[in-house]
Amino acid sequence: MFIINFFTILIGKILSGLLHLLGKNAGNLPGLVLWTINKNCLKAFKIDCPIIAVTGTNGKTSVTNFIAEMFRKEGKNIITNPEGNNLDTGITSLLLNHCTMGGRVKADYLILETDESHVPVVYSKLKLETLVVLNFFRDQLDRNGEVETLILKVNKFCETFEGNLILNGDDPNVARLGLANPNNKNVRYFTVDKYDFATDTLHEAGEGRFCPRCGKALRYDYYQYSHIGRFECPGCGYGKNSYYSRFTSVDLEKPSFTADGKEFTTAGNSIYYMYNLCAVYSVAKLYGISEETQRSVFENFKVNNGRMEQFEYKGSSLVLNLAKNPVGANMTVRALNETKGDKELLFVLNDNLADGHDVSWIWDINFSVFNNVTRVVTSGRRAYDIAVRIKCSGYDPDKIVVRPDLDDAVKELFSTTGRKFAVANYTAVQPTRAALNRFINGKENANG
């Protein structure tokens, strides 16, 4: 066993060393090779520190970055995957880059964004201390399969997991994981109180309308967004939980939230941003992060990287947000509608492998609620699909401009001055950032 582990690490080290020499980013490849030659390769690593994993459909990258920033500010030595690389192979590559030849990983904490379907794969091999689950939404169905299949995979893992389980108590798909192992005393729920734009009826396509325990239709007091809200099963009472952390008085104007009687100012101001922070707050509370650090991170830290990232250009401001599924896109549409005054929208839609080839999810985006949107520019490989979708929601087709080429689209968008929003799906978000930076900084000193 020792010999196998030794060679596993050695091969991996040589590989990632070679890739670095070649100037390549060793994101997935070394891990992929190790998994191919040894299915137990993760067991070759010796990790003594706690591992905190973040999973869920939307918000993984942001929450992972926030938690990492909290620990960093506390002077801890952490290893994390801030750019995603959240599959078994990506996590293996990350560990390879940070271990000794003996496979020892030296850190105070490992904070790992982990793809939902890879939670059981990775943490059947590595000892997990805390699992944070944010939400489950429909996401790239042709790649991931139905949401239910994905939930069942994570649920199965939770059946034998005895570590800390930090769950979104307002998502019926997530809260059910708390029932998976009745012997686990470390299940904690977080919740965000009703906010100003919460609705009485479902506003956007949602999952989990039926009780996972008894199949009855769930009853909602209110919906925050999609199927996230205060729910309860009229049949079996599923949904009645006590909360470990709870955001009260969420104020999107300031923006701020109150938790455990203390008011915190935040850098972002949307409801799903608050849910992300509530997950972060739960981890900070659990690990005894100082109030000073919490305040500073909540107030100042920005993930950027296409997550509610701000751009400025000659009197125009633009917010770019990644949306790889309807809920993500609905969130930007929501933020756009909650912003007063006229605005324009750029929507960049690709259908590459990592996006899912199927773009029918755009029909689950609720565009009928457009509020003071004066123009829409569409771009990407499926620029016309998103244009048709927006048109059929009742939006005036004369106000839709299709520019499949991204540079053309950005130029078109900034041909007017004012407030702008941009939505880009998975493989579109980095090219969109690059195109925005090229345009704003001029072509000569492009950086992306």
């Binding site: 949401v147 396509a205 039926f210 080839h357 029918s360 999810w361 689950d364 979708r389 059929c392 299709v402």
Partner: protein, 253 residues
């Protein structure tokens, strides 16, 4: 004013892959022409209080396995009423799961046989290997309203449908009713059943208009539909057909 009465069955359960978009598109194309549309939503348990024959169009989308199991019994309880409506000429549009449930039976990937409504002779058997699914862009050649028309969509199904008397179209690209099949879907004058998502009507305005015309003709309205500005839709079709190298024979459209 002309009016279209639609019954959208289980919209809260059968709405995978944006299938509810089909209703949005029908409404959009009717409203643009001043045709009044009413869409009633049918939910579990409303069978006895619903007059299916009073509708011009009954629509069922596709759903996840969990939801399809929840509604199977309820749908069976509506069998006779749906059959009567179909015989009296109500148009029935079914996507994916809806398509399967109207046949003889559906045998799922665990070998469990779920009885269908038996409106039509076809039956569906899912591959026992859950990872074996027909997934991808698909283009079929249909003959709709006496004209050849390429219908473009996206298929994602594990079920293989056999014994189809009159398919919706012949496959030009993709799989169709089963792996590597020549035919896709099921078609009658007042029936379109298909695996095509996208949603179906988003890239195929002629299919929408066929359905709308048919429904209006029931009420004695046989005037041709006023044409709409479909520039975006046509461009969207062109991009996909070009990508799949099927543009050669598209001139007639």
């Amino acid at each position: 004013m002309a009016k279209l009465r639609i019954l959208h069955m289980y919209p809260d359960m059968l709405d995978l892959y944006g299938d509810s978009g089909n209703m949005e598109i029908i409404s959009y194309r009717c409203k643009k022409r001043g045709i009044d549309v009413s869409i009633d939503k049918y939910s579990l348990g409303q069978g006895s209080s619903t007059d299916f024959t009073s509708y011009d169009l009954i629509y069922l989308g596709g759903g996840a396995d969990f939801e399809q199991q929840l509604l199977a019994d309820d749908l069976l309880s509506c069998r006779d009423n749906i059959m009567e409506a179909y015989k009296k000429g109500t148009f029935i549009l079914m996507i994916c799961g809806g398509y399967q449930l109207m046949g003889q039976y559906y045998k799922d990937s665990n070998g469990k046989k779920i009885p269908g409504l038996g409106l039509f002779d076809y039956y569906t058997v899912a591959s026992t290997d859950k990872s074996k699914r027909c997934i991808g862009n698909i283009v079929i050649e249909t003959e709709i309203g006496g004209e050849k028309y390429k219908v473009i969509g996206f298929e994602n199904h594990g079920g293989m449908t056999e014994n189809v008397a009159s398919p919706f179209g012949t496959v030009l690209f993709g799989n169709g009713n089963s792996f590597g099949s020549k035919s896709e879907g099921y078609f009658e004058k007042n029936v379109i059943a298909t695996y095509l998502h996208g949603p179906l009507l988003s890239k195929n305005p002629k299919v929408s208009d066929y359905i709308i015309s048919y429904c209006l003709s029931r009420g004695g309205n046989i005037r041709p539909l006023e044409p709409l500005n479909d520039t975006l839709e046509e461009k969207c079709r062109e991009v996909m057909l070009e990508r799949l190298a099927l543009l050669g024979s598209v001139k007639s459209e």
